[in-house]
Symmetry: C2
Subunit: 491 residues, 2 copies
């Protein structure tokens, strides 16, 4: 459709929506806060999901599926969890509709009221740990390394396509262990998997860290996270991995007999990433012409456009293209020949640019004569005329160069947007003028964290792992601090 995109400069937020909607990733739906993931967006998600799934399986995990509904009483069993999740959620109260006796279509049958309301899962710790109670008796039953791909619902008041929707797709890993140490190792291992996926597949550099108590998952002892930086200088939490201690085991009475035949509570982790990643991907890389997708997860990696006068020339081009296509496919490249007669080449170029296809190849009459093709890369918007000899191999290499270049670019941007500050004035100025991560000393109290948030909207994104220990003074209170933490405005 090659529709006009609002520029980032003009309206960043509208730019983002334009990319999602006009790029064909998603649509609004008739249900408040829920979106439709369109085929192009879903193909992107499939590539991300399949790679994550491979990485989970390589690290010893298996998939399972647990019920969509959670009995209301389950949410109350873990004290912190209920505070975090039992508030804005979809509540099923009835199980039947009937014809309206007054002729107004169908109405809820008041006689079909559930004894106990069911909650559409906002996350599945409770229903899963209620199940694990039946699965775990002895240390021989441990560890349990289960993941679930599922839809979840959180009744968000302000929604954004992909970034914050009432329903979203995600995976949630839920593991059970015999020792705290093993559970902590699992938590860290999955954080590493997420970081590796974000950097190597999404080309998005991330900072690994741990959340402050304030920002912790409801029911966790420790929440680890990966934090990415968007082009408007805001941070985006791209994945979390929680060490849950024995909290859920205690709430659902899940014990195992250890090798000494003593009963102990089981140790837990949970970890998840969601379709929110797509929002982060879009904002990390795209430009005012449209999406820029990393080759490794792009639904389409290469598109070939013929530029011809008449059928005869088209046939000659198609002959060349068929050879190139089969060579590219043999190399595992996802390629499409866009030879539709519905649109002119210029329109097609704009459309593929909008959709972020990493490489575009155009072949015209001159190219036929010279044995060449014009190769354009989406990330740098550069073009080169190249020989058809060995072109497939060249393109294959180019895709890998683009992947690396996109990561390098995003990393250079991110690295240049981590600002060390030592005073409150510097702190505020960095946030207001430059954005990005602000590395500052903090006195370690929830009160100060809250006050900084109230004054500036900035939150502590994380305390980076392997953080340098450094004596300093809190930027707000001047109280002593032993390390810097990363503040940012965030999605």
């Amino acid at each position: 459709m090659a529709a006009a995109i609002t520029s980032r400069e003009q309206d960043y937020s509208q730019w983002y929506n334009d990319l999602i909607l006009k790029g064909g990733l998603a649509d609004y739906s008739a249900v408040r806060g829920c979106m439709v993931i369109k085929p192009y967006g879903f193909a992107l998600w499939e590539n991300m999901r399949d790679q994550l799934d491979r990485m989970f399986k390589e690290t010893g995990h298996v998939n399972a599926y647990f019920p969509l509904f959670i009995p209301k009483s389950f949410l109350s069993k873990e004290a912190a969890h209920v505070e975090g999740f039992a508030k804005e959620c979809a509540v099923v109260t009835h199980y039947r509709l009937k014809n309206d006796p007054n002729g107004g279509g169908v109405v809820v049958d008041p006689e079909a009221k559930l004894e106990e309301e069911l909650i559409v899962r906002p996350t599945s710790e409770t229903i899963i740990w209620n199940t694990y109670k039946d699965w775990i008796q002895s240390y021989r039953d441990l560890p349990i390394l289960v993941n679930q791909w599922a839809n979840v619902v959180r009744w968000e008041m302000r929604t954004r396509l992909f970034l914050r929707t009432a329903e979203f797709l995600w995976q949630e890993g839920h593991t059970a262990h015999a020792t705290a140490q093993e559970a902590v190792e699992e938590t860290r291992k999955m954080l590493d998997v997420y970081a590796q996926f974000a950097e190597e597949w999404m080309a998005v550099p991330v900072i690994k860290g741990v959340k402050t108590a304030n920002e912790r998952f409801a029911g966790a002892e420790d929440t680890y996270c990966i934090e990415a930086l968007m082009q408007d200088g805001k941070a985006l939490q791209a994945g979390t991995s929680h060490f849950l201690g024995q909290n859920f085991a205690k709430a659902f009475d899940v014990k195992f007999s250890n090798k000494e035949n003593e009963l102990e509570y089981v140790w837990a982790t949970s970890w998840g990433v969601s379709t929110r990643l797509i929002g982060g991907l879009v904002m990390a890389h795209s430009d005012d012409q449209g999406l820029i997708l990393p080759p490794k997860i792009a639904p389409l990696q290469v598109v070939i456009v013929p530029i011809h006068k008449g059928e005869e020339q088209l046939n000659a081009i198609t002959e060349k293209v068929n050879v190139l296509m089969s060579e590219l496919k043999a190399l595992g490249v996802r390629v499409k020949y866009d030879n539709s007669d519905n649109a002119r080449p210029g329109w097609k170029f704009a459309e593929h640019e909008l959709k972020g296809v990493p490489v575009r190849i155009a072949i015209g009459g001159r190219d036929l004569e010279n044995g060449t093709a014009e190769v354009a890369r989406r990330d740098e918007k550069t073009k080169a005329t190249l020989s058809m000899d060995g072109l497939a191999q060249h393109i294959h290499q180019l895709l890998s160069d683009i992947q690396q270049n996109m990561f390098n670019k995003a990393k250079a941007y991110r690295d240049s947007h981590i600002t060390k500050v030592d005073t409150w004035e510097e702190f505020v100025e960095a946030l207001e003028t430059k954005g990005g991560f602000v590395s500052a000393h903090w006195d370690g109290t929830a009160e100060t964290e809250e006050e900084i948030k109230t004054k500036t909207k900035a939150t502590i994104r994380c305390i980076p792992l392997n953080n340098e220990q450094e004596e300093g003074k809190c930027v707000l209170t001047g109280k002593p601090s032993k390390e810097r933490v990363l503040f940012a405005l965030a999605y």
Copy 2:
């Protein structure tokens, strides 16, 4: 855990439940009518899903994702559809919980009542056609060939693991076409895909047919189906493909301008299979020792068990096994070495039998001396001592033989349980003594169909495609009939 299985003879229903529960496929959950799909069952579903997904993509389909919730009013828009689906369903009426002022945990916040109730999708025609309205303007936008993998909820009163659960996983294809003919072709094409999948991958022979008006999907013009036969002589509908005519296009006002620039309503199909297939798979093949899984979709195809005295012998066996394992893996075989010290070989044999692993290889001291291994096939419960030379290649071939043998066996059983009858007495006797499909003349009226169902519980499973035309008289009413239809008791 090598637990005892109730025999089919003793209690068929309990036999089925034993296989599902003790075979590790699924568990009951804390939510009425919802089940937990355990890792082994989910791995089976993944193999089925992945193959179906490949077949959908090969036939030009793409995946997308639509909202879990459907506004209540949408269900009323298609008259037949509301009758079929708007009755037993999960209704979301509120979007918030709050702390009980009386201290009883959390309660529904009466102030957070939805203006319009949301239904958890029992099927997605309505929300999807409401979306297609925005996607379709011109014949150039057609066809739309979209599939969705999703969870759906139907509030069933009597549930059976996999066969009938309140929540289940499925795929639902929803396509939009410019002509009736193209939509009918799509409907038939997807029926063929289902039949091919059932026969070649699940080793379950199916009869392709069309449903009577009585048994049609609510909102369809024609419902095509594949029907399989279980070992207790009952039929199981294994997949359906619906020609929806213009019903949903009219209900949601979805028109396109054709090449002559005239507005027409769009033609629709929908088609689906679900986790119910797993129930059918289990009942089609298994025996009193446990599951028998077809190699093509079995999570594990080969298990190797060492039978050793002492560590030294185990090491010698393991050395041989490692070579065999890597050869098998190179051939794409899913293999596991069960060398755990927790259980004795006999216990392991029973466990793998229960789980339906197609091939078991045992290697003991004698085998080490002789350069042999004992190979047992699950389908025929036969054993053979074979040379280790070329064993991997042999196993690879054996898996394919087992796949074919399972299909042949199921087909021989099915074919011998299609009984042609011409009188009411024969009809009743065939149903009562032999079970299976009863091929009989029927006068074509819904009344007769209903009366036969009331008298015998048998329903018309389908009118087979390419049915022989044959003059005859209805088994119940004696009225004239032009073809036989297939009756059966059914799941």
